[in-house]
């Protein structure tokens, strides 16, 4: 009770409980908004949107205040825990918070980018019949995501982790009357469950050794446990499974491109900037668990590197404006995961932050294009839009340059940090990462040239295209500003931990890393910067490889095959067992036996009174025989 009084009763300006109660408001504000929208205001669309936006803006303001309090005045983390439940003597689960620099930065990213996207949604979702439902889901998502960020123990994090999966499902399938959207939502949820199951096993295994779920206690206890090499690797790998699912790493990456069926702001918020970054955030939160194990960290780094390169190759052959960005997101997430695996959670978080800015911007600009062209998403039906939509075009270009890592934009700083790290630790991954960086510049260059420059390919759509209203361009400009200057605040990496040891890399390496994206753009320009560009020259040059990347390496087909034949066979076996052993033999046998017994015993009911008298005497005689004589 005392907690609640102190939360709401005292000052939340600068008092001793100030930062704490702000965190609870940051977390629960969006939930309250979601509840009110669902229960009360679903008919008043304007009010619903206002509530949702007000909630996230409040969260943003409070997060910013916490961040500034920490950076400027050094006000430290005050742990605040509500005891939630105890099971037996050993399992204690809290509902607590953690407000270390890592969480503060993530809070800022989620609420900051989230605010821009909430406002943008006002314009994008205008006139949609499910307007209120959309904002309720968005607020629910914000709540769940913030829950992951401030969770101070694994169980709490896992609960919010699943809540995030739920809100993602709701938002991907937002236009559920469209079968593809409903299917995509289901796919995302199921694929995520595969990863989450591994994570749950990891959490339980860790608990069975350490006896606590709390991050701080675990960090203190785990080094003293002397776990065997195998156990440590297994725990690390299992927990990494959660990140593989949520952050869409190979081999569970298949859900993310399909998730683009959701509204574009949702893609920007959930499937680019925040939720998919939750996996990386979780890895950073428990990096002390993974890094001591060489096997686990190599696994993490390799999966990240493979994802980065593979997704980048797929992206060069996609034709959907959002799907290219989706594969780009996969690739960038691969970078972050690789950075964690190589022992650089700081670099991973730095890139996560920058990526949130420019990738959200890319998606929002793409959304602006999609709205202008009345839900056309094929890039080969666009072209020359820069004349009609200057703000959208230029913000997209800025974000594209930032994504490719052109100095001095944000992506340059964060991506180079990761590349330097890879150069120091693992040369194979370094080469893969550089190749991915080249491809990144190439595919995003392709998208820019085809969509915004050249001649319009669909004259009718082009004539009707127009720049989006201020409510959409405003967030674009805000995010463009962040994409440009985000990396200049070089304290962001330092803020998270001990200052990065700036090793002196050779000038050649630095120049090479700057030249890589430029080279990518040059190649893209050579192919697509001309009247009537097409994929034909690249297709001819790559031959069979093109078929493979165009079909995403046949992952979906492979999984469909596995589900159809392997899982299908097992399911058929279970069905047979259920149908014949359990149903026919077990339940059917029991009922048939009872029936048979009944029919037999019924023969005694003759209705003949002397017969009954005989049986009674016989029975009594037998009883007496057994009782008296034996």
């Amino acid at each position: 009770m005392n907690n609640w009084v102190s939360m709401y009763g005292t000052d939340w300006a600068l008092g001793s409980h100030g930062p704490i109660c702000s965190v609870w408001i940051i977390l629960f504000g969006p939930l309250v908004a979601a509840a009110i929208i669902t229960l009360l205001t679903s008919k008043q669309k304007g009010l619903s949107a206002a509530l949702s936006i007000a909630a996230i803006l409040l969260s943003f303001a409070l997060s910013l205040r916490l961040f500034l309090l920490f950076t400027l005045k050094g006000i430290q983390h005050i742990p605040h825990v509500i005891h939630w439940l105890t099971i037996g003597n050993s399992i204690r689960i809290d509902f607590g918070m953690i407000t270390d620099p890592l969480a503060l930065l993530m809070l800022l990213v989620v609420t900051g980018v989230g605010s821009a996207i909430h406002v943008y949604s006002l314009g994008y979702m205008k006139g949609d019949p499910g307007f209120s439902r959309y904002f309720a889901c968005l607020s629910l998502f914000t709540f769940s995501m913030l829950g992951i960020v401030i969770a101070n123990n694994f169980i709490q994090m896992f609960i919010f982790w699943e809540l995030v999966g739920l809100s993602s499902y709701l938002l991907i399938g937002f236009w559920f009357e469209k079968p593809s959207a409903a299917e995509a939502g289901k796919k995302a949820f199921l694929v995520n469950r595969v990863g989450d199951f591994g994570m749950m096993l990891g959490i339980l295994l860790l608990w069975s050794h350490a006896g606590t779920f709390n991050f701080v206690e675990l960090q203190q206890r785990v080094p003293g446990l002397n776990l065997s090499v195998g156990t440590t690797a297994l725990i690390g790998a299992l927990i990494f499974c959660g990140a593989v699912g949520k952050s869409a790493q190979v081999p569970l990456h298949v859900w993310l491109p399909d998730a683009m069926e959701g509204p574009t702001p949702v893609s920007a918020l959930i499937h680019a900037a925040t939720m998919v970054a939750a996996g990386v955030y979780m890895l950073c939160r428990v990096s002390w668990l993974i890094l001591p194990s060489a096997a686990a960290s190599t696994l993490v780094a390799s999966i990240g590197g493979i994802t980065a390169l593979m997704a980048a190759t797929i992206a060069i052959a996609q034709n959907d404006i959002k799907r290219i960005l989706a594969y780009s997101t996969l690739s960038q997430l691969g970078y972050m995961v690789m950075a964690v695996g190589l022992g650089g959670p700081t670099q991973a978080m730095f890139h996560l932050t920058m990526h949130a800015f420019f990738k959200a911007l890319l998606f929002l600009s793409a959304g602006s294009v999609i709205i202008a062209l009345h839900h056309e998403q094929d890039i080969w039906k666009m072209g020359g839009l820069w004349k009609k939509m200057p703000i959208t075009s230029w913000t997209f270009v800025i974000a594209a340059l930032a994504l490719a890592g052109v100095p001095p934009l944000s992506g340059f700083y964060s991506k180079d940090e990761i590349l330097f790290l890879a150069y120091e630790r693992n040369h194979v991954l370094f080469v893969m990462a550089v190749a991915a960086a080249f491809l990144t510049a190439y595919y995003i260059g392709r998208e820019v040239f085809v969509v915004f420059f050249g001649k319009p390919r669909d004259q009718h759509a082009y004539d009707h295209a127009h720049e989006s209203p201020l409510v959409m361009t405003g967030p674009l400009l805000f995010l463009a500003l962040l994409s440009v200057i985000g990396g200049w605040y070089s304290k962001v990496p330092d803020f998270l931990g001990p200052p990065h040891q700036a090793e002196h890399h050779s000038l050649l390496l630095k120049l090479g890393l700057i030249a890589t994206p430029l080279l990518g753009f040059l190649v893209a320009a050579k192919v697509y910067w001309k009247p009537g560009p097409s994929d034909a020259p690249v297709k001819a040059a790559l031959g069979n490889i093109w078929t493979w990347v165009e079909n995403k390496y046949y992952f979906d087909e492979l999984y469909a095959w596995i589900v159809k034949y392997i899982q299908g066979t097992i399911a058929a076996g279970c069905d047979l067992f259920d149908r014949w052993i359990l149903q026919r033999l077990g339940i059917g046998g029991l009922s048939a036996g009872t029936g048979l017994l009944g029919k037999t015993v019924r023969l005694l009911q003759t209705g003949s009174i002397p017969g009954y008298a005989f049986l009674v005497s016989l029975g009594v005689t037998i009883i007496i025989y057994y009782m008296v004589i034996r």
Binding site: T606, G607, S608, I609, P610, S617
Partner: protein
Amino acid sequence: MITLNHYLFVSGLLFALGIAGVIIRRNALVIYMALEMNLNAANLALIAFSKFNKIVDGQILVFFVIAIAAAEVAVGLAIIVALYRRKQSVSVDELKTMRL
């Protein structure tokens, strides 16, 4: 010398005759008489025990049995009369409706 066993033997014989009567005969009235024989076989055993063990309890119990047998006959004969009115017969072969 007549011992307890002699009494009990007669009692058992009487009881067996009663049971046999109940099972074999078809006339409800005769079955009734056979049943009375069963009760009196039990009474004989009780009195024999009472006499040889010098405890009066058995004789008291016999009075109860006689009283209850009288009541039972009243009810039973009423049932048989009712039965006769319905079926125009007192043969138990007519009473086969008590089955599934």
